[in-house]
Amino acid sequence: MNIYIQPEYEVVRDRDRCIGCRVCERQCANLVHSYDAEAGKMQADSALCVNCHRCVCVCPTHALKIVKSDDTYKVNGNWGNQTINEVYRQANSGGVLLSSMGNPKEYPVFWDKMLINASQVTNPPIDPLREPMETRLWLGKRTSVIERDERGKLKNKLSPQLELKVPILFSAMSYGSISYNAHESLARAAQELGTFYNTGEGGLHKDFYKYGKNTIVQVASGRFGVYKDYLDTAAAIEIKMGQGAKPGIGGHLPGEKISADVSETRMIPQGVDAISPAPHHDIYSIEDLRQLVYSLKEATDYKKPVIVKIAAVHNCAAIASGIARSGADILAIDGYRGGTGAAPTRIRDNVGIPIELALAQVDQRLREEGIRDEVSILAGGSIRSSADVIKAIALGADACYIGTAALLALGCHLCRTCHTGKCNWGIATQRPDLVKRLNPDIGYKRLVNLVTAWNHEIQEMMGGMGINSIEALRGNRLMLRGIGLTDTELSVLGIKYAGESM
C-alpha cells in the first residue's frame, strides 16, 4: 500500500490569460501539463511538478504560477510536512532518499553575519573607475629559495602556478551530471574571463580538449575518464578527496544520465549507475595521498599544480595541515552547502560544516604552523555573491569556486531534482531534446556577465576599503566584523564584533 502524498507545490493557471498554445506541455519533461481536447482546456498534474519554473518562464501570456500548497497535516513543531512525507516515501519504497543541489535547510549562514569595512578620513577610499584595482592573482605554492644568476638577477624557482584575472573559478561539475552544452558554456566562459573551469570526475569530452589552458581536470575515486591525454591537456589536476554536499561518500551518477557520449567520456558502460567509491582505494592515509600527488606530478613532468579538494568537516584544519605537507599546490575546501547532481538526502542535509568556519580554521592553522605558503586555498560550497567572495578572501581564501551560482546564470531554478535527469533547462540532463535548450553561445555570455559583474562589485568594495590589490585582502580579517554571533563563533572565525574598533 502506497500512501498518497499531497504535492508540495501546485500549478496555478489563470484561465483568462491562457490561450491554449500548449507551449507548457511541450516544454515540461515531467509531463505536468496536458491538453484536454474535449474541454478545450489545459490541465496540470501538480504531483509531477518539480517547480523548475520552466513553464512559468516560457508561457507567453504569463498565465502560470507555482505556489506552495496550503494543504497541511495537523501542524506540528516537531513533525513537519516534509519530515512526515519522507517517512511515508521511505515506507513506500524502502529506499534511500536522493536529493540534488546544496543543503537547503535553515542552518545559519555566516556570510550574512559578517560585515565589511570601508575607509574614510584617516585613509582614503580608492575609486576603481579612476585608479587601477587589481583582481589578478596566482594560485600555487609560494615557497621558493632565493637564487640568483651570475648577474645577480633572481631566478624563478617557483613551482608551477595558475594565473587568474578574477578571484573566481567554476567548480567541479562533471559531464554526465551536467550537459554537453553546459560544459561548453563553462569552458568558453573560463577562457574569456581568464579563469578556469573544472571537469569534475566525469572525464573530458573530446571536443573540449581545446580549452585545456582553462581547464582543471579532476581525478576522483572512480577515476572516470582519467588517462594520459586527459592529464596532459589540463592546466591543473584536482584530486577529489571529498565534496561538501556529501562528505564521506563518492560521486553518484544515475544510469539515466549515462548516454553514449557520457559513457565514452567516462570510459564506463552506458545506462549503468556510476557510483564512485567512498575512499580512493589507493589512499587510506595521508602518506598515500602524497604518493598520488607525486604520481600525478611525475605523469605530467612537474608542469602543473595539483589541487586537493576536501569537504569541510570537523577536523578539516588537521587534514589541511597534512595536505599542505603532501606536495599539493592548492587546497580546495568545499562547504556543506555545496551543490551536487545527486546525493543521499540525509548526508547532504546533515554531514559537514559551513565553509566560513572551515576556511577560517584552515587558514589560521596553516599560518600557526608556518605553512600557509605551501598551498593556496580555494573556498567553495556556497559562494552566492561578490560579497561572499570578499568575505571569503578576507577570511583567508586565495579565490573562490562557484558552482550553483554558475548554474543559476545558465537558467537553473534550483528545483533540486538534477538526479532525475529531466532538467527542463538543458543543464542537468543528457536528453538531446532538453540539452539543446541551453544554447552555449548564450550560456557562456551569461556566465561572463555574471563573473564580470561580480568582479566590478569586488573592485568597488576593495576600493572602499582602500585596498587596490586582491592580494592585500587575503586573510585581512580586520576588514570583517561579526554581527549576531556568539563569542565562540567569533573566535572560530577569528574576527571582532561589529562596533569593536581596529
Binding site: 587601477p132 638577477k153 592585500a472 574598533s501
Partner: protein, 366 residues
C-alpha cells in the same frame, strides 16, 4: 581604563623628514629639530622621535641598546638579562633636559653590548638574529622594560610630545651623525606610552612612516608566520618586520624589497622591459602577501643610507632634494627649505618608486 599601545590598533597621520650627508660627514641633530618644527601642525603632541646614524663612533662595534623602564625593578631584571647574554661595555642613563612640555617620562638607559661569545656559539644563531631575539625577549617577557633601539653605531630617541620638544629633551644637538630621520606623530587614538612613538627600529633598521595601511592584517598575519610578533599593532612595526624579513632573512636588495611592498601595478609592469617585467612579476608571485596597500610614505634608515618609498598610488606626500653631498627628504618641501633654503634639485618620487641615498664609502661608516 585607557589601553596601552599594543592593546589596540593605532593608526596615525604624521610628518617625516630625513637628511644624509653622502660624504659621511657628521651633522648635529639640530637640523632635524628645525626641519620637523616647520611641520608642527602635522603632529598633535602625542609622539615624536629621531634616528641618528654614525652617532656612536667610539662604540661602533657594539650594539647600542636604548631602553625605557617603568621602574627600578624592570631595570634590575633587564640588566640581569643583559648580563647573562651580553658583555656590557658601557651603561648609563641617557642624558635628557627637563622641559615643562615633556611629562611622565620613563627611566631611559643606554647599554653598549656585544653577545657573549659562548652563548652566541651555543645558540647556533647568526649574531644579528641573536641580538634581535634578545631584544624581543626583553620586550615580551620583562614587564615595564622596552628596548626601542638596538643597532650598531645608530640610535633612536623618542617619546610622547611634539617632535621638536623631544629632540631638545634628548639634547640631540650634542650628537653628530651622517644621517638622521625624524617623525612627528598624529595618532588617532591616545597612547600614553613612550614605546609607541616612532621611529620603530630593529637592529640597524629604523622606520619613520606616515600613513595608514589598509593591508595591515594581511601583512601582519603573514609576517607572524616567520616568528615576528606584532605587539604594538602599528603600521610602522609591521613594515619594519617586513623589510627585516625580506632583506636580512631572505636576502633581497632594498630595491627588490620596494618592488614587493609597493609593487608596480600589473598594468605598469606590462609596459616595462623584459627583464624588469620578469623580475617584478616574480617578486609579486613570491611575496603577494607582503604587498602594502593604502597610504604610506616611509623613510628607512640603515647603515650607510636612507631610502624613501611611498605607496604605489602615492597617497602620501614625499619630497626629495639634494645639495652637494647632502640629500634631504620630507613630507613637505618647507621642512627641507627650513634647513637648506638653496637646495639644487627638488623632486617628488613617483608612487612605489624607491629613492636610495647612500654614503659614497660605505665601509667608512660600518
Amino acid at each position: 581604563m585607557l589601553m596601552r599601545e599594543g592593546q589596540f590598533r593605532n593608526p596615525s597621520g604624521c610628518a617625516v623628514t630625513g637628511i644624509i650627508d653622502r660624504s659621511g660627514k657628521p651633522m648635529s641633530g639640530e637640523c632635524m629639530i628645525q626641519s620637523i618644527a616647520v611641520m608642527h601642525d602635522r603632529s598633535n603632541g602625542l609622539g615624536g622621535g629621531f634616528a641618528g646614524y654614525g652617532i656612536y663612533p667610539h662604540y661602533k662595534d657594539f650594539y647600542a641598546f636604548h631602553l625605557f623602564f617603568d621602574g627600578k625593578g624592570a631595570r634590575a631584571e633587564t640588566e640581569a638579562f643583559l648580563g647573562r647574554h651580553f658583555e656590557i661595555a658601557y651603561a648609563s642613563e641617557i642624558r635628557t633636559r627637563k622641559l615643562p612640555s615633556i611629562t611622565d617620562e620613563p627611566l631611559i638607559y643606554r647599554y653598549f653590548v656585544t653577545p657573549l661569545s659562548r652563548k652566541l656559539a651555543d645558540s647556533h644563531l647568526d649574531e644579528r638574529e641573536y641580538v634581535a631575539r634578545c631584544a624581543n625577549r626583553i620586550n615580551v617577557q620583562i614587564g615595564g622594560a622596552y628596548v626601542f633601539s638596538c643597532g650598531k653605531n645608530m640610535g633612536i630617541f623618542k617619546g610622547v610630545g611634539y617632535p621638536e620638544d623631544i629632540g631638545r629633551y634628548y639634547c640631540l644637538e650634542e650628537y653628530s651623525g651622517y644621517a638622521w630621520t625624524c617623525h612627528g606623530r598624529y595618532p588617532t587614538n591616545t597612547p600614553g606610552w613612550w614605546g609607541g612613538a616612532h621611529p620603530f627600529g630593529l637592529l640597524d633598521f629604523s622606520i619613520v612612516h606616515n600613513g595608514e595601511i589598509s593591508s595591515y592584517d594581511a601583512n601582519r598575519r603573514y609576517i607572524e608566520m616567520f616568528g615576528y610578533r606584532c605587539t604594538l599593532q602599528t603600521d610602522t612595526e609591521v613594515i619594519t618586520y617586513i623589510i627585516d624579513y625580506l632583506v636580512r632573512k631572505r636576502g633581497l636588495t632594498l630595491k627588490e624589497t620596494a618592488h614587493v611592498i609597493a609593487a608596480s601595478f600589473w598594468s605598469t609592469i606590462a609596459d616595462k622591459d623584459e627583464e624588469a617585467k620578469e623580475q617584478e612579476t616574480l617578486l609579486r608571485r613570491m611575496f603577494p602577501s607582503l604587498l602594502i596597500t593604502g597610504p604610506f610614505s616611509i623613510i628607512l634608515g640603515y647603515t650607510g643610507g636612507l631610502m624613501t618609498l611611498g605607496d604605489r598610488l602615492k597617497l602620501r606626500s614625499m619630497v626629495c632634494a639634494e645639495k652637494g653631498d647632502v640629500a634631504y627628504m620630507a613630507s613637505e618641501e618647507s621642512a627641507i627649505r627650513a634647513i637648506e633654503p638653496n637646495v639644487e634639485k627638488v623632486y617628488s618620487p613617483a608612487g612605489g618608486e624607491p629613492v636610495l641615498f647612500e654614503v659614497y664609502d660605505k665601509e667608512s661608516v660600518r
